[in-house]
Amino acid sequence: MSLAIAAPKPGIFTRLRLKVPFLIAVAIVWLLIIVFVAVFADVIRPYPISQMNLAHRLAPMGTPGYWLGTDELGRDVLSRLIQSIRVSLVIAFGATILSAVFGTALGFLAAQFRGWVEHVVVAMADFQAALPFMIMSLAVLAFFGSSMVLLVCLMGFYGWERYARIARGLAISASAQGYASAVVQLGAKPSRVYLRHILPNVASTLIVSMTLTFPEVILMESGLSFLGLGVQPPESSLGNMVGFGREYLTRAPWIMLAPSLVIVMTTLSISLLGDWLRDRLDPTIR
C-alpha cells in the first residue's frame, strides 16, 4: 500500500480515518490478510496439506498444535485452509482478469466496427443469458473432465458480457467526444486510440465492475468444488473443503465452518468495498 509514502503531513491517518468508514476499513484489513496468506501460503503453513496424523483424527478446534482442528485423516485444517485460500484466490484473480480482458476487447470491437460484429457480440451475450453459468460449466466439465487450467479458463468466461456492455457503451460515447476523434484525425491507428486513449479513460468503471465479478467468481468456483466437480483432490479449495467437511457435519463441524467463514467474510468484504468504491468513483453504474 502507498500509505507510508505520502506521510509528511501529520494528519494522514486521521484523514484516512475520517474518509474511510469503519466497516470499509475492516473489509480492507481482512482482504489484506487474505492476500498476505495467499502469497505467503508456503511459509506460514504449519504442516504440509496432505500430512496425516492418524492419532489425531477429528481433533476439535483449539487442540494444541492444531488450532483449527484436524479432519477425518488427521490433516491439519489450518494448513489446508491456508492452501485453499491460495488456490481459490488464484482462480478468482485469473478468471476475473481473463473475463475483463475478453469482455472489454469484445466491447471495443463492437464499438469500433458496429454492424455485424456488434450483432455477433449481442448474440453471444444472449447465449450466455440463456444458459445459467453453472449449468454451462457443468456441461463443459462433463465433456472434458476437470482440470485446473480448464477451470480458470471456464471461470474466465464468467461475467464477460458485463464488461462488453460497459466497454462498448463507454467507447461509443468516448468516440463522440473530442479527444478520441482528435487522435483519429492525427492519424492514429484504431488499436492506439482504444488502448492508449479510450482505455485509460474508462478504466475506473471497468475496475469497479471487477469488484462485482470477483466475489461471484469465488462463489461460483466454490460452488462447483463443493459439488465435487471443480478443484480436485489432492489439491484443495475453499468450496472443496466445505464439500468434504459436509460428510462430518455432525461429528466435526469445524472442518466445514472455517472455510465457510473465510468465503463469507471475503465475498462480503469485496462487495462492501466495491459498493463504497462505486459510490465514490462512479455514480453512473448501480
Partner: protein, 309 residues
Amino acid sequence: MPKFILAKLARAFLTIMMVMTFAFIVLRLSGDPAQVLLGPDAPLDAVIAFRERWGLNDPIWKQYLAYLTQIMRLDFGVSMRSQTPAINLVLERVPATLALTIPALILKLGIGIPAGVYAALHRGSLADRGVIMLSIFGFTIPSFVLGLVLVLIFAVSLTWLPSGGQDTYWHAVLPIITLSIGGIGILARFSRSAMIEVLGQPYIRTAMSKGLPWRDVVWKHALPNAAVPIVTLVGFMVGALIAGAVVVESIFAWPGVGRLIVISVANRDLAVVQALLLVIAASMVIANLLVDVAYGLLDPRLRSKRAAH
C-alpha cells in the same frame, strides 16, 4: 401479432440454436461421440450401429444437420446409466424441482419486494439499514454454506426438521428456506433502489403537489414505474426455476433436476447432459420472452420504441 414479439421469437429461436450448436461442438471436440455417448465398454457392433444411425461417417455439415433433426424430434439418445431415453429422465425430475423452486419464488417475491419498497419509503430509518444489511448478507452467503448451517442448527442441534430426503412436506422446508434467502436479499436491494429512483422523478413531485394522498402516489404512480426494472430480475428468477437448485438439491439429497445434473456430469452420462442443456436453455428463453411481453404490457413507451426499432 405485434412486430416486437415476432422479433423476440426469432431471437429466442436463434439462441436455442446456438445452445444446440454449443452442445454439438463441445461433443465433437471431446472425442468420438459414439464412444462417449455409449460408454467406454460398449460392444463394437453397437458402436458401429450408432455411427451408422447418427451418420458419423458423413461430412461434418451433414452430421450437424442430422444432429439438428434428431434434436427437433427430442431424441437425445439413451442414458448409458439407466438405458432409458435421456429426455424422459430429465422430464420426470422436473416436478420435484418445481416443488422447491416455486414456493421459494413466492417467498422471494412476497418478502423481498415489500421489504425493499418499505425500506425505500422509509429511507435512512432503522428498518432501512436493517434491510440493507440483511440483504447484503443474504446474497453474499453461498447457498451451500447457508444450507449446511441451517442443517447444523435445525436438523442436528434442535432436531426439529429432517436434514435430507423427500419423504414428507417437512423435508421441503429447509431447502425452500435456503433457496429463497439469497433471492430475498437481491430482490429487496433491487426494489429498494428502483423505488428510490422512481421517487426522485418529477412526476412524483407533480402527483404530490396536486394534492394526491401519499397512498395513491405510491400505489398508482411510484409502484407501477418501479415495476419495470424489477420485472427483469423476476424474469431471471422464473428462468432459473428448473436449473436454479443444483447446489441446494445436492445438499438436501432432493431428487430433482439439479441432482440429476450433478450425477450425470460426475458419471459423464452425456446424453442426459445434452438433454438437460436444451431443456434448461428452453426454459430460460421462454422466461425471457415472457419478460419482454410483460414489459410491453407494463410500459407502453417500450412497446412503441421496440416496434420502431
